[in-house]
C-alpha cells in the first residue's frame, strides 16, 4: 500500500522536475527587475543619504559619507516590500484538452506559466502561494511544494477558484480557460476584491476552441463526458459558437474592469515566454 502510494507519487512527481526546469528556463528568459517601492525603507538597495536627526541612533550614521561633510548623514535603503502573490492554476479535466496531437494540453501550459511566474517572483523576493491551501511564502524552498501541488489533477469538468482567504492587499493570478460556469469565478473575484486584492485573469485556450473547425454530424462531449451536445451540422454552429466565446471573453473583461483586475488571453500555440512577459508586466504594473 505504502509502496504503491510512493510509486504513484513518484510516477506523478517524475515529470515535475522537468516542469520545474522548464519553468526556470522560461523564467530566465524574462529579466526581472527588483521592484523597489521608491521610498526609503527596508531593503538592500541604496535609496538616499539624509542628514541625521536627533532621533537617529549613532549606529545609523554613515560615517564614510559624513566624513566628507560637516553634517552627519544617515544612509537610507529603499523600502522593498515583499508582495504576496497567490496563484490559482485550473487543473480541471477541461484543461487537459488539446486540439492537435503535437500540441500540449492547456493544463500543461497553465502549469508552466504558473510555475515560471512563481520562479520569477520568488527570485524577486516575493511570496508566492497557491490556492487553495498553499499560503504565500518566500524563498526557493517554496518551489517544491508548489511544483508538487501543481502536479495534482482535479477530477471536475471545469475548475472554479476555491473560496480561500487571500492575504489582504496581495495579488492574485488565475490561470484557467474560463469556459465553465462563471459564478464561481465571480464569487472568488468578489471576495478577493473585498480584501483589496488585485489580480490577473489569464485565459488559456487551445486554438481549436477559438476556431471551432468542426463539420458534419457530431456529438460534442465535455472531457468527463458529463456534458453532451449533439448537432447534425457542426459547421452551422461555428459562428454562433464564436459569438458565445466572444461573449464569454467580454464577460471576463467586464468582470475585470469592475474589480480593477486585468485579463490576459493566451493560446497554447503561442510562445509561453510572451505570455509570461505579459503576465509579469501586468503584475508589475499593478503595483
Amino acid at each position: 500500500m505504502t509502496a504503491d502510494l510512493r510509486q504513484r507519487a513518484e510516477g506523478l512527481a517524475a515529470p515535475l522536475p522537468a516542469l520545474l526546469a522548464q519553468a526556470e528556463h522560461l523564467a530566465a528568459s524574462v529579466l526581472p527587475g527588483a521592484h523597489g517601492r521608491r521610498r526609503a525603507g527596508q531593503g538592500d538597495e541604496f535609496w538616499q543619504y539624509r542628514p541625521a536627526t536627533a532621533s537617529d541612533g549613532a549606529a545609523r550614521i554613515d560615517w564614510r559619507r559624513s566624513g566628507r561633510a560637516d553634517v552627519h548623514f544617515v544612509r537610507e535603503t529603499e523600502w522593498q516590500a515583499a508582495q504576496a502573490v497567490t496563484l490559482w492554476v485550473d487543473r480541471a479535466q477541461a484543461m487537459g484538452f488539446s486540439g492537435a496531437k503535437d500540441r500540449a494540453p492547456k493544463a500543461d501550459r497553465a502549469r508552466l506559466l504558473g510555475l515560471a511566474l512563481a520562479v520569477l517572483l520568488l527570485k524577486g523576493g516575493e511570496r508566492v502561494g497557491l490556492m487553495p491551501d498553499l499560503p504565500p511564502r518566500m524563498g526557493r524552498a517554496q518551489l517544491e511544494p508548489l511544483t508538487l501541488t501543481l502536479g495534482a489533477d482535479d477530477m471536475a469538468d471545469f475548475g472554479t477558484p476555491p473560496a480561500a482567504l487571500l492575504p489582504a492587499r496581495s495579488q492574485a493570478v488565475f490561470l484557467s480557460d474560463f469556459l465553465g460556469p462563471t459564478e464561481g469565478l465571480e464569487r472568488a473575484v468578489g471576495q478577493a476584491v473585498a480584501r483589496g486584492v488585485r489580480g490577473v485573469l489569464v485565459q488559456i485556450l487551445d486554438p481549436v476552441e477559438e476556431e471551432f473547425p468542426y463539420q458534419g454530424r457530431s456529438i460534442f462531449e465535455s472531457m468527463t463526458g458529463t456534458l453532451r451536445h449533439e448537432t447534425l451540422r457542426a459547421n452551422d454552429l461555428q459562428t454562433r459558437y464564436r459569438d458565445r466565446l466572444v461573449a464569454r471573453k467580454d464577460a471576463l473583461a467586464a468582470l475585470a474592469r469592475k474589480s480593477g483586475w486585468q485579463v490576459l488571453s493566451h493560446h497554447t500555440d503561442q510562445s509561453p515566454a510572451t505570455a509570461l512577459m505579459a503576465l509579469w508586466q501586468a503584475l508589475d504594473g499593478g503595483r
Binding site: A94, M95, F97, F158, D177, L179, G180, P181, V208, E209, F212, Y214, Q215, G216, R217, S218, I219, F220, E221, S222, M223, L227, R228, H229, E230, T231, L232, R233, A234, N235, D236, L237, R240, Y241, R244, L245, R248
Partner: protein
C-alpha cells in the same frame, strides 16, 4: 444496341426493395462523430438551424440506390444480345464450309464459332465442330464446348470445296436430334441444299455469313502481248476496285510483287478485267497473280509454262564459214531472242523438234526434205509457230512459185526485188503503220528502218488477209498463215542487215516478241495431261499461301485432268515431262453464285451483335459506386481530410513518375564514376555475356590501372542517353534490331562527341572460312547510316598496341583476323628516328572486330570465368591477352593518343634543356 437478357431474371425482383432502401436510408442519418470538446459548455442550448439536413443528402441516396441496383442487376447475370434461338438443350452441331472462300474472313469465322461455343458452354450442351472440307471419321464427335474451344484456333480452311457425295454420306450418319449452326462461306455449293434439308430435319438451323464479298481470280491469259487478268465475284455487288499483283522473284532472287494492275468491277458485273503489259523478261519471272489484300486460295492464280519463257528453236544450218558475226544471219536473232526466250540451236530438225519448242525459226532455208517437211507441219498444226526469214537462197529457189508451199504462208514471185540498191533507181522503202488487226499493232516504226530488198508475194486472193505488215508501197513484208493450231509466218526480208535495216532497230526485237509471245495458248490437251504422271511442285493452302510440296507423291494424270480438287489434289503447280501445269482453283469460265437459304433458316450476318456477359462490368460498377459512397460518407461526416484525398490522388499518380526517376537513376549511376556500357541486343544470352564481359574487364581495370569503373550498364539505344558512357560495347547478332532514326541521330552524336563503340560480330571463327557471315551483313546494315570514317585494319604502330601493354594482336575468344579502326591519314609519316608514325589525334570512333571479346572477359559474380577459351594453359594465356587488349582499349578511350605523344617526350625534354 442489342437486347439485354438475364441468366437469373428472378433476382431482379429484388429491385422492388429499392424504394424500401430509399426510405430506410432517408430515415437514418449518417452516424455522428463523438468529439471531446471543452467548449461544449458554450454550445449548450444551441439548436440546429435546419432540421431537414439530418437526412442523408439526395445525391448520396441516389448513389447508394444505384450501387445496390447495379449489384442486384449484376448478380442477375445480364447478357447483351442473348441468343435465344440457340438456347436449346439439344446437342449443337457447328458446321463450317471451310472452303477457300471462307479463308478471307477466317479469323472472324473462328471467332464466331468461339462465341457460339461460349454460349454452348454456358448452356452446358454438347457440341461438335465439323469442318465440311475435312469431315471427321466415325460418329459425330460430340464433346463439351471447352474441348472444342481449345481446338477452334487450329482449324484451317481448305483450298478446295467439299464434295457433295461425301457430305451427303456424312449427313446420313448424323444423330436424330441436333441443333445446327452453319458458318457458311457465302457461296452456293452442290451439297448445300441437301445438307440444309438434313440439318433442318434434325433441329433448329441457324446460318452465319460474313458480308465481305468473295473475290476470286481466274488464271491469267495472254492477249496481244499483254496479260489479261480476270477477277470474279458474286452477282449484285456495287462498283469496286481490286488490285491484282504479280508475284515472282526479282533478279536478286527475292520473292516480291513485280507488278500491279487494277481491275474495276462495274456495279452488278461479276467479272472485272485488268491488263498488264510487261517486259517479257519481267513476265517470265511471274509465278503467281494475287488479288491484293485477300488471303484465299481462290484469289491466287498460279502461272505455268503458258506464261513462261518460250522455247525458240533455230535451225542454224552448217556454219562452216568463220565469217564475221555481224554478217551471220543468226546474229540479230540471237541478240533479240536471247534475253526473252530459251534459244535452242541445232542444224538438225529432229533434234530441234524433240525439245518441243514453241517457235521454230528457219532463216533463208529454201528446200526441206519430205520427212522434215512433215515433221515441221505436225509441229505447226499442234500449235507451233514456224517463223521463216527470206534471203538470197529463198529468193533463188523454185519453191512456192506455182503452188503454195505447205511451209510458206504465200506464193512467191521469182527473184524478188531490190529497191534502192546500188543497181536500182528507187529508194529503200519504209514500213507502213501496222494495221489494227495485225499482231504488231501499236508498235511505233522508227524512221530509219528501210527495206532495200525483199522477196515478193504472188498476188493471191488471200494475200491481203495473210499480210500482217507491209511496206509503204503496200507490198507485203510479213505474211502469216494459220495451219491447224499453229501458224506459219514469213518475213520477206533477211534476218541480218543485208537486205534491210530492220534487224538493226528495236522494232525487230518488238516484232519478234509479239510473234513469239502471241504463239501458243499452249494449253495441254486433257488427254495429254491424263497420259502423264505429275509431280506436285508448289501447292496452295486455303489462305492462298504457296507451299513447296515437291516431296509429295506424284499424282496420276487422270486425277489431274478431272481437276476434282480435294484433299488429294490441291491447286498448285505440277510438273511432268511435258512441262509444268498450273492447276488453279478458279477456271477461266468459273462463275460464283451466292448461297441461298430457305426463309425458315435465320441468317446472321457479321453485324450480329456479340453475346456479351455484362456481369463483371455491372458488378464492378456497383462496387465502384459503393466505394464512391464510402468516400462521400466520409466527406459528409467531415472525416475525409484534405490530406487523405491528397494521399489517394498521390497514390494514383505515383506510377507516372517512375520512368523519369529511373532515367535519373541511370544518369546518376553512369556519371558517378567511369562506367562501361554495352548496347542491349534483345538476345538474353548475348546481353548476359556482354554484361559479364564488361564486369570482368572492369575488375581487371580496377586491379591493374587507375581506372576504377562502376559495374557496367546495359544501354537501350532507343531509350537511354548515351553521352554518359565513354565506351560502348555492341555485340552484333544476326537479329540485332535496326535502330530507329532517332537512335541513329543519338549514335551519330555520340560518335562525333568522342564516344567509342566496339562492334563485335563474334564470328571470327566462321568469318575466316566464309568471309561474310550473317552477323557481318547485319553489321553492315546497322552501320550504314552511322557517321563512321574510313577504316583500316589496326596498323602495327597504332596507339592501341601500346596504351598500357605492348600488344601485337587483339584476341578475344577467337584470335586472328583483323580488327578495324579509323584509318590513319594518308600523309602520316614516320618521323626521323621515331619508332611510330605521327598518327592522327583523337580516339577512333569505332573498333570493328569479330573476336567475341566479351566471352573472353566474362566472369560471373564470383569472379570466375564464364566461357572456356581455347585449350588448357594456352587458353588462359589467350584470356590474359584479351584482358590486356581490354585494358589497352579503355586506356585508349580515356587517354586518347597520349601514349602516342609520349614517344616525343625525349625530344621535348631536349628542346626544353636548350
Amino acid at each position: 444496341m442489342g437486347n439485354l437478357g438475364f441468366a437469373t431474371p428472378w433476382l431482379l425482383a429484388a429491385l422492388v426493395a429499392l424504394p424500401l432502401l430509399w426510405w430506410l436510408l432517408r430515415a437514418v442519418p449518417p452516424a455522428p462523430v463523438v468529439r471531446r470538446f471543452p467548449g461544449v459548455a458554450l454550445l449548450l442550448g444551441l439548436t440546429d438551424e435546419r432540421t431537414e439536413t439530418d437526412k442523408t443528402p439526395w445525391w448520396l441516396l441516389l448513389l447508394r440506390a444505384l450501387a445496390v441496383a447495379a449489384l442486384i442487376v449484376g448478380f442477375a447475370g445480364p447478357t447483351l444480345n442473348p441468343q435465344a434461338a440457340r438456347m436449346g438443350d439439344a446437342p449443337l452441331l457447328v458446321v463450317m464450309d471451310a472452303s477457300w472462300a471462307s479463308a478471307r474472313d477466317w479469323s472472324r469465322r473462328t471467332e464466331r464459332v468461339a462465341e457460339v461455343l461460349a454460349e454452348a458452354a454456358r448452356a452446358d450442351r454438347p457440341v461438335a465442330v465439323v469442318v465440311l472440307s475435312d469431315l471427321p471419321e466415325g460418329p459425330l464427335p460430340l464433346r463439351e464446348a471447352r474441348f472444342w474451344a481449345e481446338r477452334v484456333g487450329a482449324l484451317t480452311p481448305a483450298p478446295f470445296v467439299a464434295k457433295a457425295d461425301t457430305v451427303a454420306e456424312w449427313a446420313a450418319t448424323l444423330p436424330e436430334t441436333l441443333d445446327s449452326y452453319w458458318v457458311s462461306d457465302g457461296l452456293d455449293h452442290p451439297y448445300r441444299g441437301p445438307l440444309t434439308d438434313a440439318l433442318q430435319a434434325r433441329g433448329a438451323l441457324a446460318v452465319y455469313e460474313t458480308s465481305r464479298p468473295v473475290l476470286a481470280l481466274a488464271p491469267a491469259s495472254l492477249r496481244e502481248g499483254s496479260l489479261v487478268l480476270q477477277a470474279i465475284r458474286l452477282p449484285n455487288q456495287p462498283t469496286t476496285d481490286v488490285t491484282i499483283t504479280a508475284h515472282g522473284r526479282d533478279p536478286s532472287g527475292v520473292e516480291r510483287a513485280l507488278a500491279r494492275a487494277t481491275a474495276t468491277f462495274e456495279a452488278g458485273e461479276q467479272t472485272a478485267e485488268a491488263e498488264l503489259v510487261l517486259q517479257p523478261e519481267l513476265r517470265n519471272r511471274i509465278t503467281r497473280f494475287q488479288i491484293e489484300g485477300i488471303r484465299s486460295a481462290g484469289a491466287v492464280a498460279l502461272t505455268d509454262d503458258a506464261l513462261q519463257r518460250r522455247k525458240v528453236a533455230l535451225l542454224t544450218g552448217r556454219e562452216g564459214d568463220e565469217g564475221a558475226d555481224l554478217l551471220s544471219p543468226f546474229f540479230y536473232l540471237r541478240q533479240a531472242l536471247g534475253p526473252v526466250a530459251e534459244l535452242i540451236e541445232s542444224p538438225s530438225i529432229d533434234d530441234l523438234l524433240l525439245t518441243a519448242p514453241d517457235v521454230l525459226i528457219l532463216v533463208d532455208v529454201a528446200a526441206l526434205g519430205e520427212v522434215e517437211t512433215g515433221q515441221i507441219l505436225d509441229f505447226v498444226r499442234s500449235g507451233g509457230l514456224l517463223l521463216r526469214f527470206a534471203g538470197p537462197r529463198l529468193a533463188a529457189s523454185e519453191i512456192a512459185r506455182d503452188a503454195e508451199d505447205p511451209l510458206l504462208p504465200v506464193r512467191l514471185r521469182i527473184g524478188g526485188r531490190t529497191v534502192g540498191g546500188a543497181m536500182s533507181w528507187g529508194a529503200p522503202r519504209m514500213l507502213r503503220d501496222f494495221a489494227p488487226e495485225s499482231p504488231f499493232a501499236g508498235l511505233s516504226i522508227p524512221s530509219d528502218v528501210t527495206i532495200a530488198a525483199q522477196v515478193l508475194a504472188q498476188p493471191d486472193p488471200g494475200l491481203a488477209e495473210r499480210t500482217i505488215a507491209t511496206l509503204a508501197d503496200g507490198t507485203p513484208l510479213v505474211t502469216r498463215r494459220f495451219d491447224g493450231d499453229g501458224q506459219i509466218v514469213l518475213v520477206h526480208t533477211t534476218a541480218n542487215a543485208d537486205w534491210s535495216t530492220l534487224p538493226l532497230s528495236g522494232l525487230f526485237v518488238q516484232m519478234l516478241e509479239r510473234l513469239a509471245v502471241s504463239t501458243r495458248g499452249a494449253a495441254l490437251e486433257e488427254s495429254a495431261i491424263a497420259q502423264q504422271v505429275w509431280q506436285p511442285q508448289r501447292a496452295l493452302d486455303g489462305f492462298g499461301k504457296v507451299q513447296d510440296v515437291s516431296n509429295d507423291a506424284a499424282i496420276d494424270g487422270e486425277t489431274l485432268a478431272a481437276r476434282d480438287f480435294g484433299p488429294d489434289l490441291r491447286p498448285g503447280v505440277y510438273s511432268s515431262a511435258a512441262g509444268s501445269l498450273a492447276l488453279n482453283l478458279i477456271g477461266a469460265d468459273s462463275v460464283l453464285s451466292a448461297a441461298t437459304w430457305p426463309a425458315s433458316v435465320p441468317v446472321e450476318r457479321d453485324t450480329v451483335a456479340v453475346t456479351r456477359d455484362l456481369r463483371a462490368p455491372v458488378l464492378i460498377l456497383g462496387l465502384g459506386l459503393l466505394l464512391v459512397d464510402i468516400l462521400a460518407a466520409l466527406w459528409l461526416s467531415g472525416r475525409l481530410r484534405g490530406g487523405a484525398v491528397a494521399a489517394i490522388l498521390l497514390a494514383l499518380s505515383l506510377p507516372m513518375d517512375a520512368h523519369a526517376q529511373e532515367d535519373d537513376r541511370l544518369a546518376l549511376q553512369a556519371t558517378s564514376a567511369v562506367v562501361l556500357g554495352h548496347i542491349l541486343t534483345g538476345d538474353a544470352r548475348v546481353d548476359e555475356i556482354a554484361q559479364a564481359g564488361l564486369r570482368g574487364l572492369s575488375r581487371i581495370l580496377f586491379a591493374r590501372t587507375s581506372v576504377e569503373p562502376e559495374p557496367p550498364i546495359g544501354v537501350d539505344i532507343e531509350r537511354d542517353e548515351l553521352t554518359f558512357f565513354p565506351f560502348l560495347y555492341w555485340p552484333i547478332t544476326e537479329n540485332t534490331p535496326i535502330p530507329s532514326d532517332a537512335a541513329y541521330a543519338k549514335l551519330n552524336r555520340y560518335l562525333r562527341g568522342g564516344g567509342l563503340i566496339l562492334f563485335d560480330t563474334r564470328d571470327a571463327e566462321l568469318a575466316g572460312l566464309t568471309r561474310t557471315t550473317p552477323e557481318a551483313r547485319r553489321l553492315q546494315t546497322i552501320a550504314r547510316p552511322l557517321d563512321i570514317p574510313p577504316l583500316e585494319p589496326v596498323p602495327e604502330d597504332h596507339v592501341l598496341t601500346r596504351t598500357f601493354y605492348l600488344l601485337s594482336e587483339f584476341p578475344g575468344r577467337y584470335r586472328g583476323r583483323d580488327v578495324w579502326v579509323e584509318a590513319a591519314p594518308a600523309d602520316a609519316e614516320r618521323a626521323e628516328g621515331m619508332p611510330f608514325r605521327n598518327l592522327n589525334d583523337g580516339v577512333t570512333p569505332v573498333i570493328v572486330g569479330g573476336h567475341d571479346w566479351a566471352s573472353a572477359w566474362a566472369v560471373d559474380e564470383m569472379g570466375q570465368p564464364m566461357v572456356r577459351i581455347g585449350m588448357g594453359l594456352s587458353g588462359e594465356e589467350q584470356r590474359e591477352m584479351a584482358y590486356r587488349f581490354g585494358v589497352n582499349l579503355i586506356t585508349h578511350v580515356l587517354t586518347g593518343n597520349y601514349k602516342s605523344d609520349q614517344v616525343h617526350v625525349p625530344a621535348l625534354l631536349e628542346r626544353l634543356g636548350q
